[in-house]
Amino acid sequence: MAVALSALLAGLPQAIAAERVVSLNLCTDQLLLLLADREQILSISWLGADPEESAYAHLAEGLAVNYGQVEQILPLAPDLVLAGSYTAPFTVALLERLGLRVLRLPPATSLDMLEAHIMTVAAALDQGPRGDALVAELQVRRAAIAAAAPVTPAPALVLRAGGFTSGEGLTHELMTLAGLDNIATRLGLDRWGSLSVETLLRTRPDVLIIPQYRRDAPSLANSLLAHPALAGFADTRTVVEPRSAQLGCETPALLEVAEAFGEAARAAQREHRP
């Protein structure tokens, strides 16, 4: 009976509990770190262990890292490989050709998609209860953030490195949830676009969101706010500085950012609308 049942389950891809898992993508790395037992993880990508890139790098201590090449993965004999939908297509195709099970997750564009990804990965790892618990916790926090949001949203703007801003997508959803009014939507930008110094000067955000990414590395992108015309632009405003790693992938760290947005929205309301 048990044999027949396991044989039946073996036919269903989702039902095979993966015991030896390799992840090739920064975002799947983090979901794996959160949901798997440590013994299930054979290796994660080198980015997943880098605290500048990964919000959960601290969980990766002592784990082996890979550089996303087939030759590094095959000797590990994984029974599941996690990858993003834009992970090197040749590598993923070769792994599939060699008979490895590859689970590819598209980059999440909403919190609902984050929850779906958590459920998908948890099911593949046979960690259903852990996935359910995490999703339940996230839903409670989402509700709390929404409940605490000010009635009148505070005008806000995201300034990513290079003047990139978010007009829709995940960051936009987090802002809306936390009671921030994303000015970028009225600047005719879609999911992500660049802001010029001129456009920036014409806006009147109460809250500035400036994701922090490798501040020490010299780059033109990081120096946007150093433009003479923008001297003092940030001084009079409420500034939120989430780590880029918290925003870069669909992980529960997104809600930490949303909670910080909520605080900023309430602070801006106290300061700018007494």
Partner: protein, 347 residues
């Protein structure tokens, strides 16, 4: 056959080679065997060691065989084929256009192929199957060729062909940038940019099967034009009087290049400088006649690309450096050296 010809002395186009074609080709084949062997046995595995195949073979023979047959063999074959394609097409184009700067990129074949592959990425077709990327590349290079013929087809003027190539390159480059602008996500952009830098990593026999027939067809087409290329060095009229139609020679070389380079670029991304450097490297050895240059250029191109790929693999463990970056890094200074050294003698 080139080997049966007198070794130069006929004054067709400049000085004769110092070595016989047979000696040069034998040396190159020997080098190629060494490079192929090294390419099969060296590679960074899970432990990060470059030479771990015997240890892996003892521990886990199945995986070792899989790595050898399904990872390193296609990588080596593609290095060989793409290198030979670039060397051969570079030599043929430099002969045809009588221009020392000619290389496969000049006709727009490379940038057209790159655009085709980027479009496949952009519409997310790559996730439907990696095999669609080479197909996009070949269609792109074929389109670039079609446009080239619309622009320059009726005119046998070489200058027109070169200028049309420049225009097609500029247009394809602009369209590629446009596609990047509208790419579905920053991750897609990164993937496309990395792909365009050129690499042989993790290609499989599927890519070999897709590219091999096209590369062979292109190479053969160019080979049939070899004697015509020699005749053309005397000028169009002289070639015609010797029984070669300049238009037919051009068509063979250009169509052959589009086929072979389109397939190569689609599988490996843009690997520059091999087609440019290899003929210059060999001219002092085998002489200046285009037909004599073809076979050694194909062999040397293969050796050069395998060597560059070996260098990429030998670097310390980390995200792999892209092959196109290495060929440009080594190729450009070497090319400058060649220019400085040969400035006194007319090309």
């Amino acid at each position: 056959m080139p080997t049966t010809e007198r070794s130069g002395g006929d004054g067709v186009s400049g000085p004769t080679g110092r070595l016989s074609l047979g000696v040069v080709c034998t040396l190159l084949v020997a080098l190629l065997i060494v490079a192929t062997g090294l390419s099969l046995v060296l590679g960074r595995g899970a432990g990060g060691a470059l030479w771990d195949l015997p240890a892996l073979w003892q521990r886990d023979p199945d995986t070792a065989r899989l790595i050898l047959e399904e990872v390193r063999l296609p990588r080596t074959l593609l290095g060989l084929l793409v290198g030979a394609t670039l060397g051969l097409c570079g030599a043929a184009l430099q002969g045809l256009l009588r221009n020392p700067l000619a290389e496969p990129g000049i006709l727009g074949a490379s940038s057209g192929a790159a655009l085709g592959a980027v479009v496949v990425f952009y519409f997310g077709l790559a996730s439907a199957g990696a095999w669609l990327v080479p197909v996009g590349g070949v269609i792109g290079s074929a389109l670039a060729l079609g446009v080239l013929y619309l622009l320059a087809g009726r005119s046998p003027e070489l200058l027109t062909i070169i200028l049309a190539g420049v225009a097609i390159n500029a247009f394809a480059g602009a369209m590629t940038s446009l596609a990047l602008n509208f790419a579905p996500s920053p991750y897609a952009i990164m993937e496309i940019i990395f792909w365009m830098l050129g690499s042989l990593a993790d290609r499989s026999m599927v890519q070999v099967q897709l590219a091999l027939p096209l590369m062979l067809a292109g190479g053969l087409l160019i080979a049939t034009a070899a004697r015509g290329l020699d005749a053309l060095t005397l000028g169009s009229d002289a070639a015609r009087s010797l029984g070669f139609s300049p238009g037919a020679v051009q068509l063979r070389v250009i169509a052959g290049t589009a086929l072979a380079v389109g397939a190569a670029v689609a599988v490996t991304g843009v690997v520059g400088f091999v087609g440019l450097v290899v003929p210059h490297l060999l001219r002092p050895l085998v002489g200046y006649r285009p037909a004599r240059l073809l076979l050694p250029s194909a062999l040397a191109g293969a050796v050069l690309l395998l060597a560059a790929d070996l260098l990429v693999r030998s670097l310390p463990p980390g995200p792999e450096l892209k092959l196109g970056v290495v060929t440009a890094m080594l190729g450009a200074p070497f090319f400058l050296f060649l220019i400085v050294r040969s400035r006194r003698q007319a090309w």
